[in-house]
Amino acid sequence: MLELEGVSAAYGAVRALDRVDLKVEAGEIVTLVGANGAGKTTLLMTICGRPRAISGSVRLRGQDITRLPTHRIAALGVAHAPEGRRIFARMSVRENLQLGARLAPAANLKTNLDSVLALFPRLGERIDQRGGTLSGGEQQMLAIGRALMAEPELLLLDEPSLGLAPLIVRQIFAAIARINRERGTAILLVEQNAHHALRLAHRGYVLATGRVVMEGPAAELAANADIQTAYLGKLSA
């Protein structure tokens, strides 16, 4: 479904991604783990066209999307729940969800809304409240829910567990598993919480200083003793 080949990206002179190869098959959960500054968020942003890859190619269902603007990539079925949630704080929960539904057929609005509210009942309780007044966990649910409203085929999740209590993290991860199981949505999950992420995912990649240093089935990666070192960023070549 999604295929990155030799993708490099940079912020000015600073190289953030170095010839990354990565694949997400249809219906698969793939996780990308690594330490702070390894380039995980940059990789997700590059898939969305911002920053644009300076070399290599990003293909979605065989179509080259490397040079497309962000909104066109979104229109091809890639939804992004970005780092820091970035919900619309002054708008109500309902408005946030409606904004997410721009790319889906208008006729499906009601059913999509209902299914998001079934996934996150807490959002239903807060439906006419301003996004900015939600708790961190609820905001994360809103960010994921908003992304789902577009009926994506590929969901990019950036650190959904960031700053959340363990109990809430478990709820969020359960919801991610459910999204994948019930809708068959492919998910690319960026996480610092490698332990949780590798238990949830089918396959995983370990990123360190902009390079893929390890990849394989999630269970194998989880069992690998080196993961902890890579995770701390000591394995950089």
């Binding site: 962000t70 002054r90 708008m91 409606q98 904004l99 409240q129 301003r130 577009a150």
Partner: protein, 451 residues
């Protein structure tokens, strides 16, 4: 409490003794000294009452303070003060303290993000304002001057609502909005004087030309953000004014353009006592005696209708996908783009529509003034329009009306105060900033509630 107030009054008296109490006169044969005891006494009394009211508020007797201040403001209005300035201070000061007491009574100050559910605010106020605007010309105190100020205020409301689309909804701080007013005004002026088109024919051209200018400016500028965007638009406003000043063959330079076409009664009749041959006079059409005020009242209703139309349009478009996209871009560009919003196109649309309203306001500006010069379109105008939008509360239609009433209405109202006019204006601005730091109407109303 009384003692504290008395101490404050004593301090004011001691300070005021040399400052207010004595006045040096420049007489023939040397300087003389006169005294101004009534003024000094009045100032001391003002300080005493004001201090007492503030202490009452602090001491918890908010209701008492509110009552005293309202009564004081009302009575101060009719008492013959020794100087006009003292009257302004008395009425204004009492009103400010009364508002403060009122706000405390009204509960905690609403902050945009505070509180859970969204309260619908000002449910009746808009309708009251519309009703008032509709009957204003027939009210007993509405002479020609009052209706004329009404037109001026409505023009600025129109401008404020236009800029609100760009700045309030799409979040683009445009400091050169006056450019679109100028383009609209010059379009109507040139078409009217050189090609003989009527006001009604010119109106859509003004909107179109301003809108086209907005798109033209938008293409290069919309890739800029925040401060950079504001600076470039500011420059654009100045460019338009300077071009108008120097393109003599088209705009007649700094001389301006005179004898602009006055709006007719929908092409049926003119508003003159002696119409040109082949034209009818409005007064004969309706069989009433001729009065010059008819034209002013008619223009007033034209502007009112245009303003209401713009308002309805804006309220509706906020609920449409494009309106939501504007607000999404204002809140968070990155998230908005991830949801499939095309930043360039959506912002360009905001710019084009906002500019069109500015162009319409320009045509109205022509109709009211009857002449234009480039000097009418300086940066100060942009600043006033921006101030209306910001003080009104970004994105709030009602707030803009209130802010336009304060910012445009107050200076006109205080015109009798001559030099103190701008002082009173400044005091009103400071009062807004102190009591409503997020604008008069700070809470954003959701576009979707319980369907």
């Amino acid at each position: 409490m009384l003692r504290d107030a008395a101490v404050a009054a004593l301090a004011a008296g001691l300070l005021g003794l040399p400052l207010i109490g004595f006045r040096l006169l420049d007489q023939s044969g040397g300087e003389g000294l006169t005294t101004r005891w009534p003024e000094l006494a009045a100032a001391v009394a003002l300080v005493f009452t004001g201090r007492l009211a503030l202490l009452l508020i602090d001491g918890g007797a908010v209701r008492v303070a509110l009552l005293i201040m309202v009564a004081f403001a009302a009575s101060a209005f009719f008492v013959p003060w020794p100087a006009q300035f003292l009257k302004v201070v008395a009425v204004g000061g009492a009103a400010i303290i009364a508002i403060r007491a009122g706000l405390i009574l009204a509960g905690p100050r609403p902050v945009a993000l505070a509180g859970g559910a969204i309260r619908p605010i000002g449910r009746f106020l808009p309708w009251l304002l519309v009703l008032f605007a509709l009957i204003l010309p027939v009210l007993p105190f509405a002479d020609r001057g009052v209706v004329d100020v009404g037109i001026l205020i409505l023009t600025y409301i129109l401008l404020g609502w236009g800029l609100n689309i760009v700045t309030g909804l799409a979040g683009l701080l445009d400091l050169g909005y006056v450019a679109f007013l100028a383009i609209g005004a010059y379009t109507t002026a040139i078409l009217g004087t050189q090609y003989g088109l009527s006001f009604w024919m010119c109106l859509p051209f003004s909107a179109l030309s301003a809108s086209a200018a907005g798109i033209l400016l938008g293409f290069p500028v919309l890739r800029l953000r925040g401060d950079y965007f504001a600076i470039v638009t500011l420059g654009f406003g100045e460019i338009i004014r300077i071009v108008a000043n120097n393109w003599r063959s088209l705009t007649n330079g700094s001389q301006g353009i005179n004898n602009l076409p006055r709006p007719t009664f929908f092409g049926l009749a003119d508003f003159t006592g002696s119409p040109a041959p082949g034209h009818k006079a409005f007064s004969t059409l309706f069989g009433i005696p001729y009065s010059p005020i008819h034209r002013v009242i008619f223009l007033y209703y034209v502007v009112l209708a245009l303003a209401l139309a713009v308002n309805i349009f804006t309220l509706r478009i906020r609920r449409l996908p494009i309106g939501r996209a504007w607000e999404a871009l204002r809140e968070d560009e990155i998230a908005a783009q991830a949801l499939g919003i095309d930043r360039r196109r959506i912002k360009l649309a905001a710019f084009a529509i906002g500019a069109a309203w500015g162009g319409i306001a320009g045509a109205v500006f022509d109709a009211r003034q009857g002449f234009i010069t480039p000097e009418s379109f300086g940066f100060l105008e942009s600043a006033v329009i921006t101030a209306i939008v910001v003080l009104g509360g970004l994105g709030s239609q009602l707030g803009i009306v209130l802010a336009a009433l304060v910012l445009i209405g107050l200076p006109e109202l205080f015109r009798g105060l001559n030099d103190y006019r701008m002082l009173a204006f400044g005091a009103a601005m400071i009062a807004i900033m102190l009591f409503r730091p997020r604008g008069l109407i700070a809470t954003r109303r959701p576009t979707a509630i319980l369907k």
